[in-house]
């Protein structure tokens, strides 16, 4: 996965609560055996009408949302299923970070493994971001800071291990494989 250190981007804002993974990528797109090109299916039923034409009223179809690498979403983003197709689709579409007041556990874990930074902020910060779609933000992963459009800097929580993996683009499998001896000892000892 691509390392993340600094993300500078305008924000795309999706001010809906409890955005579930069935909305992020509907189940009919899960019949694939690879992960390429899923960005086309991102938010498919919100982005496109029954005739396949883009819906003018959907937030991410607004001209300002194009090319944004940061998604600001309502509370409890990514609830529902464990499909990793959700972060695959978001990353393929061009997102590198998702900001909300709460991010569902399995989605968060999947995002971290795919170079998509999940950021949880407090309600006042969230309200400011929701109110300013298209405004520029800066994320510094090393410093764990988010610079808001008005220049105010807030910090966000992320555990050191996840940060290390994201910053260096390393995946966890290598770390686990390196624990092979410890796993064998544990298996023999139980």
């Amino acid at each position: 996965m691509e390392p993340i250190r600094v993300v500078e981007s305008r924000t795309a804002v999706l001010p809906r609560e409890n955005v579930d993974t069935d909305q992020i990528i509907p189940a009919r797109f899960l019949k694939v055996t690879d992960k390429a090109g899923l960005g086309r299916a991102l938010f498919a039923d919100w982005r496109y009408g029954p005739d396949g034409a883009p819906r003018a009223d959907f937030e991410l179809n607004q001209p300002g949302a194009e090319g944004c690498a940061v998604l600001v979403a309502g509370d409890n983003f990514g609830c529902g299923s464990s499909r990793e197709h959700a972060p695959w689709a978001l990353v393929d579409f061009g997102f590198r970070a998702v900001i909300s007041t709460r991010i569902a556990d399995i989605f968060r874990s999947n995002a971290l493994k795919n170079g998509l930074l999940p950021i949880v902020v407090d309600a006042p910060t969230h309200a400011r971001l929701l109110a300013a779609p298209g405004a520029p933000v800066r994320i510094d992963l090393e410093a764990c800071t988010l610079t808001l459009p008005d220049g105010v800097v807030v910090t966000f929580p992320i555990d050191g291990f996840s940060r290390h993996c994201l910053m260096n683009g390393v995946d966890e499998l290598g770390f686990l494989l390196a624990r092979d001896a410890a796993i064998t000892t544990w298996e023999e000892g139980r």
Binding site: K31, D105, S109, G160, E172, L173, L176, L177
Partner: protein, 470 residues
Amino acid sequence: MRTLFAKVWDGHVVTPETVDTPAVLYVDLHLVHEVTSPQAFTVLRERGLRVRRPERTIATMDHSTPTLPRGADGRWPFADSQAAAQVSQLETNCAEFGIELHALGQEGQGIVHVVGPEMGATQPGMTVVCGDSHTATHGAFGALAFGIGTSEVGHVLATQCLLQRRPRTLAVNVDGRLGPGVSAKDLALAIIAKLGVGGGTGHVIEYRGPAVRGLSMEARMTLCNLSIEAGARAGMVAPDDTTFQWLAGRRKAPTGAAWDAAVATWRTLPGDPGATFDREITIDASTLEPMITFGTNPGQAIPIGGRVPDPADEADPSARGSLERALKYMGLQAGRPILGTPVDVVFIGSCTNGRLEDLREAARVLRGRTVAIRTLVVPGSQAVKRAAEAEGIDRIVRDAGAEWREPGCSMCIAMNGDRIQAGQTCVSTSNRNFEGRQGTGGRTLLASPLTAAAAAVTGCVADPRRVLER
């Protein structure tokens, strides 16, 4: 003094968590299905890795599989070539990596969370994972069971371990007793409504109290299954005699002296008296009625005799917005009773309510009555189907005019061609009423098998207790 969760967690830590690194947690049982595994096997191939413990890995196919029988030409009626390819990919992967597979039409095939327990693979005190969020189901046995993503499926295939931070604990104490016509599904929907769909985030739930002790294993599975709908990755029930009786004699359960030793160990699993949780809530089962959802997430549920909530009563603007959106999508009017809402389709099945006991409940209503609308009854597994047919449930279903199908996820996720049309309303015993879950533009009302069957025979939302009296 430790909780049930703490005992299971501590017993599986290969290397402990530090400030810098998560714990390495050992996985006893890894369940695999066709939708979330192909990319994980690709990683194994790319890196030249083997499956570390094939004997701890069991695969089945359920999501993309047809629920109609083979055609006269011997072919399965797959929805499309992609679904067929996904299923055949799982066959190839299991053959190549030496994994036990319960393939389409075989005796052990079915929804992954139905077949794991019924073959006795899920046991108390185990860690169980699957690339599927409803893995929480297996917590009914006092196992720590949770859903993982496809990258993690690869981790477990290759190392039998996961990197995990210790979650917080949430006790859900259920006092009293469920009344007649009120099921574990209704209890779960009431709990989710109380916690909210994100209320359990970061937590493992333990369901406790007299009402939970009184539940059958099937009902405990229904309850734990829905933990994820409150945002909790796992839900657990401490094992007891009900658990052991259910497990005894199942194919993968221990036998003889090994069984006695296992039961002795399992009896030490329940939380110590005085062990504390990070959070606790209490709910009184005796006050509950059958529940039904009205919105587009499982937390938007009301008692069957209730009224559709009015956004105007919602003080928080963003919650008000969500409610308005949900009612618009569902085509429901604020303030109106939910009883009598017209229904187009009924679906009875899924990993939440596709077990024998669920089908028996539905059959209680369907027996001697006729369905007014399209009704699909889909057993959770081949074993459930055989057992139900041995009792004549298939006949009751067919005589009522409903469809009796082959096992699978079916209309719970609408990946296999079983789906509702845009604008249709379905009362469903599944677990997610998200927009489009049962088919693009479709509307889902979640309820128990009894309530779903009551909707089937009346063509509208109905109180099953009244329907059974008629």
